[in-house]
Structure formats: structure tokens, C-alpha cells
């Protein structure tokens, strides 16, 4: 690991080890697993996002550590109950999405780092580049919407990977709007992006050419209603990336998905054909007494 690791990745690793001993092997495990390409990509992400602000790195690591440890404890409980703690969408808005301190201090920084530090999130990222970005190029997509932008990470990835494409990002959280604006500014991608603090709508004539919704479905009380609204906002034939978390009892996860087929059936029911799918577990479970959070990923087409 020491041969491969770069200065900013090393700084994240050191901050994590100092503050959260339980998580001190995380960076080394990812380096062993994904090698120099992972290090290079993560180094660049940290460089662009944080610049030379080491205090911001440490604050972000603090948020990531708290979020990850909470997720581990919730997973431990979930393994026994196989249910999420009862929370309504309104409660999630009040406790999480509308809580600027929590969103900007813990939730969004944690999610940003999780794209690299959680193995299933990093595998999802690689899969998106292999299976979804080529679809955008194949249809020469000029516009896309990202619904439930969170940190803005996937909007950034698409804007960077597809030159000339324009994006519209929808979220009901002021913190997500703010964070995504910052992220895209730092990557020099803001000029091709419009932030919308509202539900998704057919913003462009004929509907968007493509669409993205990453780990939003499990935050909703009725994913099929959302998927129907999304379908109405995109043109026929538009490729889309939809992902959902399975068996992942985060505090704001409301809708429990336990298998890929449930998600796929909802996608088909809303008017999407599944083109490709993959399931990335956070770790391999060895008995039916264990559970693992999983990233269920789908490339779809609006039909």
C-alpha cells in the first residue's frame, strides 16, 4: 500500500485512523482491492474538492466516520429485525434533508468520500462508466436530468465524461443544491448545469435525452409514483441510470428493497426497459444470518 499511496489519499487515511480507529484499515483495503487507478482517481477528487484546505479534509473525514459507524450499527440491528426504523418522508425531510448542519457537516461529505471508500459504491462508479456513459454517447444525448442529486457526484461524472452535454439537477434539499453547485464550480462544469430546487419536470421540449437517479428510490414512500413522474419528463428511447440501495438501513431510508427484481418490476411498471443490471454488495455474506448493503444498478431505456 505504501508504494502506491499519494499525499492527499494518505492524509485522508491518517485523519481516519486518528479519529476512528475502527476504520483505520479502510484506505489500505481499497488500495489492495482496486490498485493504482483507484488511488489516482481518489487523489484527483480530493485535490479538486479540497485544494490545500486540510481542515476541510479533516471535517469531511469526521462526517464520513460518523456516518459509516452509524451505518454499521444500523446494519447490525437490521440483521436482527430485517426492517427499517419507521420514518415518514416528512420526518426524513425535517431530520435529514432540511437540516443544513447535518447535511453539510456529515451527510454530504460522507457520501462524497463513500464513492471511493465504500467498495460497492466504487464498483458502481466503474460500472456506470462502463455501461451507462457509452449509452449517452451512442444516442448523442444533449441533455440529461439528475433527480436526487445529493452531492452532485454523478452529475459531475457525466458532465466530465460527455463533452457538451447539459444537465439539470433536481433536489428538495437546499444543502444538496449548495453542495452540487460548489462541486461543479470546482470542477469547472457549472456552465453546463442548471440547479432546480423542486421535483423533476419536463424542462426541455420533448423531454430530457437521458436521465440519472442514483440511490433515491429507497428515500421515498412511493417509488412507483416518482418513477412515473420521471418517465413523463424524458423522451421515448432516452437511456437512464437508476440505482437503489438494498438492505441498507441508513437513518433516512424509508422504502426497504431486498432484491433486484422488486426494483426491476417497478422500473418496467413505470415504462422503462431494463438494458443492463448489476448488484454490488458491500461485502460477501457467508450465511443467511447476515445481511449486506447492496447497490442495485440498472441502465434502462424509456419505452
Amino acid at each position: 500500500m505504501s508504494d502506491l499511496i499519494t499525499p492527499r489519499v494518505a492524509a485522508v487515511s491518517a485523519a481516519l485512523a486518528a479519529r476512528f480507529p475502527l476504520l483505520r484499515k479502510t484506505v489500505g483495503a481499497r488500495v489492495d482491492e482496486f490498485g493504482p487507478a483507484w488511488v489516482e482517481r481518489f487523489e484527483r477528487e480530493i485535490e479538486v474538492y479540497f485544494g490545500s484546505d486540510q481542515a476541510a479534509v479533516e471535517r469531511t473525514v469526521e462526517g464520513y466516520g460518523q456516518f459509516s459507524i452509524e451505518a454499521m450499527m444500523l446494519q447490525k440491528r437490521f440483521t436482527k429485525t430485517l426492517s427499517y426504523a419507521a420514518m415518514s418522508y416528512e420526518e426524513a425531510v425535517a431530520e435529514v434533508y432540511g437540516n443544513m448542519d447535518y447535511m453539510l457537516g456529515t451527510y454530504l461529505p460522507a457520501l462524497l468520500l463513500s464513492h471511493y471508500l465504500w467498495p460497492h459504491h466504487y464498483r458502481q462508479l466503474l460500472w456506470v462508466h462502463d455501461h451507462f456513459v457509452p449509452e449517452l454517447r451512442a444516442v448523442k444525448a444533449a441533455t440529461f436530468c439528475d433527480v436526487g442529486i445529493g452531492t452532485g457526484f454523478y452529475s459531475k461524472e457525466i458532465l466530465a465524461a460527455v463533452p457538451g452535454i447539459r444537465g439539470w439537477g433536481y433536489d428538495i434539499s437546499d444543502a444538496s443544491i449548495l453542495h452540487t453547485g460548489r462541486l461543479l464550480d470546482r470542477w469547472g462544469l457549472s456552465e453546463r448545469y442548471t440547479l432546480c430546487r423542486r421535483e423533476v419536470a419536463a424542462e426541455v421540449e420533448g423531454g430530457f435525452d437521458a436521465f440519472v437517479s442514483v440511490e433515491l428510490l429507497e428515500h421515498l414512500e412511493s417509488p412507483p409514483d416518482f418513477l412515473a413522474a420521471l418517465r413523463a419528463s424524458v423522451r421515448v428511447g432516452a437511456p437512464g441510470l437508476i440505482t437503489a440501495a438494498l438492505d441498507a438501513p441508513n437513518r433516512d431510508h424509508i422504502y426497504l428493497y431486498r432484491d433486484m427484481e422488486t426494483v426491476a418490476a417497478q422500473l418496467r411498471g413505470a415504462g422503462f426497459a431494463v438494458v443492463a443490471e448489476a448488484n454490488f454488495p458491500a461485502y460477501i455474506i457467508q450465511s443467511n444470518q447476515e445481511t449486506a448493503p447492496q447497490a442495485a444498478c440498472f441502465v434502462v431505456r424509456a419505452v
Binding site: 476512528f20 480507529p21 484499515k25 459507524i69 454499521m72 450499527m73 440483521t79
Partner: protein, 81 residues
């Protein structure tokens, strides 16, 4: 349960979860001395110990129990002698 039985049971569980031989688990065993002991294995270790002894660790204990010594102390405090 006597302390020797507790110690031996913990060693058995650690060896199985961390996939190391019992000989490799010395009195100073910790996350630092056993390479395979990472956060994921730690959670499996904690859950298996809870099941084995019929006890429950609180969240702070789960985060702190990163050595054999600390695990033994916590288990002994929860298991009737």
C-alpha cells in the same frame, strides 16, 4: 461462566471469524497485530460473540473493542460468573 471458559470461547470465535489459527491470537492480539481484523470482520466478530454469550454490546463498546483484552473485559462484565 468461569474466566478460562470465556477466554477460550473468545479465542475460538476470533480464530473462526478472523481466519487465523488459535496460536496466532496472543494475549496482546488486536486490530494492529492481526492483519485480517478490519471493520467488516470486527462487526462479524461482535455479532458472533453476542450470539455465543447471549449478550449485547452497546454502540460505543462495539467501536472500542479492538483488542482481545478489551473484549474479554467487556464479556466478563456481561456474563454471569
Amino acid at each position: 461462566m468461569d474466566t478460562i471458559t470465556i477466554h477460550n470461547t473468545i479465542i475460538e470465535v476470533m480464530a473462526a471469524i478472523l481466519d487465523v489459527s488459535r496460536d496466532q491470537i496472543g494475549d496482546d492480539a488486536s486490530m494492529d497485530t492481526i492483519k485480517a481484523w478490519d471493520s467488516l470482520k470486527h462487526m462479524k466478530l461482535v455479532m458472533t460473540l453476542e450470539q455465543e454469550f447471549g449478550i449485547e454490546f452497546d454502540d460505543q463498546e462495539v467501536v472500542d473493542l479492538l483488542s482481545l483484552r478489551l473484549i474479554e473485559l467487556a464479556v466478563r462484565a456481561k456474563v454471569p460468573a
